[in-house]
Each structure stands twice: as structure tokens, then as C-alpha cells.
Amino acid sequence: MTEQTDFVQIRHAQKSFGELEVLKDISLSVDRGQIVAIIGPSGSGKSTLLRAINDLDALTGGEIWLDGTRVNKDLPHRQYEKHINEMRQQIGMVFQHFNLFPHLTVRENVTMAPMLLKGLSKDEANALAEEQLDHVGMLERIDYYPSQLSGGQKQRVAIARALAMKPKLMLFDEATSALDPELVDEVNQVMKTLAEEHMTMIIVTHEMDFAAAVCDRVLFMDKGVVVEEGPPEVIFKKPTQERTREFLRKHIEGAK
């Protein structure tokens, strides 16, 4: 139960909010460079699972491992805080509502954490910000404030902010759900580029086409359990479970 070989390991994850059991014994492993999509109806526990990986929502049972280190270690409070802050530096997260820091410019959004946590000098951090923002096509807006950007631009900056910490793993929680349809593609393009660079990613999404095109594996979750998982061509074309079929059918109808 101690040594882990897989890059990301979720073992018997269990999470309750009071009486409500949101995650029921979920296990999942992701290899280095793999891209996993999590799909499922709203309220099925997708966000909770993602947020458990970096301990934003602490599990009530089970283990999370990243690259041989247990994320949700049993430690006294103070030591745990130090440990989890170090782990979180290695796990990038992108939120549905971007959560950019509105009081900071695009540049400062990206440079803050590397300067504060990795001791980068201002020049080093600026060079890093320019590199990361160039990567997501946002270099021209480096001195803008978030309030001056479109949703798609905000999300690309949020991705650059996460990447600037050089994470081993990226988590995306419905990164495009809050965007106007015409802005979805620019964010998807950035995620595709990351995929080509073999970034390990776990992506919660409602976009089946994107999941099919980019992901190595798809998990279908419902009511706190993984109902079915497999390569996208199996999950989307010939799922074995009735619940998966029903979800996909409804989803396709909903999209029309």
C-alpha cells in the first residue's frame, strides 16, 4: 500500500459532505503524459474528485499519489500545510470561472507565485511570464488587467499562470463551460498544444468531441462511482453500460 509506480494514483477515494456521500471508493491511475477525461452528469462528483487530487477538498478516505509521493499524507497540521503547499506547486489547476486575480496585471498574475514560492528574481519571473504567455498566445496583453480581457483570453492566462509553476500534472475543471461558444476553440487549442507536449492532464469536460480528439482514456462517472472507463472510441462508440449510453444519448439531444 505504500510504494506506487503509477504517475498519478487515486486509491479508494471516498468523500462525504456530512451525510452526503459524493465519492464512493474511486480508484484511478494515470501514466506520465496520459490525458484522461472525466465525463458525467452534473452533481456526479467530478469536481470533487478533481479537487481532491490537490486537496482543495480533503478526502474522507483513500489515498492520492503523485510521482511516488503521497499527496494527502497523514501529518501533524503544521507539517501537513508545508507538505501540501509543496505538492500543490506541482499540480496546476484551471477553473471554470478562471479565478484570475483582478487586482494584478496579466504579467503579475503569472509572476506572483514563482517569485513568492520559487524565489525567482523579477527579471527571471518576467522572462518566464513572457514565455508562458507567448505559449498561450497572450503575450500582447501582458500588461492588461483581467477586467480588460474576454473569457477565452482570461482562461488562457489562467493556464499560463498554472504552467509557470512547471507542474507535473494539470487539472481542468470544465475550463470552457463558462465561455461564449465562439471563444471555446482558442482555449481548446491551447489544451491540444499541451497534449502534444505530453503534459499529464485530467480534464473534466462536457465536450465529447474534444474529449474524443485529445484524450487517451475517458471515465464516465455517475453518483460518485466510475461507471465505465476506457479509450474514447469504446466509451463514445460502444459503451457497455446502460447508464453510459443513456447519458451520451441525453447529452447529444441536449447539444442539439
Partner: protein, 218 residues
């Protein structure tokens, strides 16, 4: 005797010196109330119980009693325990802490109103809670309360007249002294009122400038 404003220029230097003291005390107390307000807010929200309790006593003292009494206590009372402050320092501390408590209430509410996602995004990057508060949450909370804090600072300017009772020659006391010599209360109280009005306008102008500057970063 009728009104005679021609007497004013002769005593203008005294009145202007009074203005200078009023402005100095107001600015110093405003800064203290701002920094103190942030510190008080953080203590009230996040300090352990053992720190919070004595602090609540201070809060009650500054909110629940007259400012005048607080000034007396700081200027005359503290001498007894060996703290002998110059009157203007006692005035700045009294006004500053009094308004710090009011600012703290505003800032606390604003801190709690900052979107939860902000703290989460900061923690996700690896910041500690204290770092996230300092770099992300508090700066946003402070921006949100600049307008009401500005109103508190106008109130502070007006209440700065109270430090005249501990003998600081600010604007109101300067006017009184001139009136003592000239027996021209209407002229000089009106002049003092005009001075307060002008200072007030300047403060509003500064406030608007600050608000405009930060509007883009909210």
C-alpha cells in the same frame, strides 16, 4: 457691532498654521486608521481565540465610548502608567485607533465577500493561507472598501477638532484663540468652516483619484 471680515488677513497666519496642524493630524491618523483597520480585521477574523478576546475589549472601548473620553484617557490617563505622550501624538493615536475600529468592520465584511475562488486559486498555486490573504484576498478587500473608508476619513477630519480639548492648536482651537483676542466669533468660525470645507474637497478629490486608479483592477 456688525460683521467685519477685513480683520481676517491680520490673523490669517494663525489660521493657516491651524489648518496645517489639522491636515497633518488628519493624514497621520487616516494612515494609522487604514493600516490599523487591516491589522484589526485580520486579528478579528483569523487570530487564535487567546489573541481575539483581549482585542475585542479594545474594539469595544473604541466603538462603545465617546472619542472625547478616549482622547482624555490616552493623553491624561496614560501618564499615570508612565506613558507621557505629546498632545498631538495622543490625538493622532486616539483618532487613528478610533477610526481603525470602524475601518476594520468594513474590511472584515469585504474580506469575507471576496470570491472564494480567489483563495482557492492562490492555494492551488501553492501559496499558504497567510500568503494568499496578504497577496490576493486583502488587496481586493481593501480596493472594495475605498469608497466607504473615504467617508470615514471625512468623518475623521471633522472629529479632528476634538483634539483641541487636549490643547493641540489645530484649526478649531486656533480660531478660538483668535476670537479670544478679537471678539469676532462669526467671522473666524466662518473662516474655519471654509477651511474645513476646502480640506474636505481636497480629500474627496484624492479619493476620486484613487478610485479611478483602481477601478480597472477590480
Amino acid at each position: 457691532m456688525g460683521l467685519d471680515f477685513s480683520i481676517i488677513p491680520k490673523y490669517m497666519d494663525v489660521i493657516l498654521l491651524g489648518c496645517a496642524w489639522t491636515i497633518g493630524i488628519t493624514v497621520a491618523a487616516a494612515l494609522l486608521s487604514f493600516v490599523g483597520g487591516i491589522i484589526f480585521a485580520v486579528i478579528a477574523l483569523y487570530a487564535p481565540w487567546i489573541v481575539r478576546q483581549p482585542f475585542r475589549l479594545i474594539e469595544w472601548l473604541f466603538m462603545g465610548t465617546p472619542l472625547l473620553l478616549q482622547l482624555f484617557l490616552i493623553y491624561f490617563g496614560l501618564v499615570q502608567i508612565g506613558i507621557d505622550l505629546p498632545a498631538f501624538v495622543a490625538g493622532i493615536i486616539g483618532l487613528g485607533l478610533h477610526f481603525a475600529v470602524y475601518n476594520s468592520e468594513l474590511i472584515q465584511t469585504a474580506i469575507l465577500a471576496v470570491d472564494k475562488g480567489q483563495m482557492e486559486a492562490a492555494r492551488t498555486l501553492g501559496l499558504s493561507r497567510a500568503q494568499a490573504l496578504r497577496k490576493v484576498v486583502i488587496p481586493q478587500a481593501v480596493r472594495a472598501v475605498i469608497p466607504p473608508i473615504g467617508n470615514n476619513m471625512i468623518a475623521l477630519l471633522k472629529d479632528s477638532a476634538l483634539v483641541s480639548v487636549i490643547g493641540v492648536s489645530e484649526l478649531t482651537l486656533s480660531a478660538q484663540r483668535v476670537i479670544g483676542k478679537t471678539y469676532r466669533p462669526f467671522e473666524f468660525y466662518m473662516l474655519a468652516a471654509a477651511c474645513y470645507y476646502v480640506i474636505n474637497l481636497c480629500m474627496e478629490w484624492v479619493q476620486r483619484k484613487i478610485e479611478r486608479r483602481i477601478s480597472i483592477s477590480r
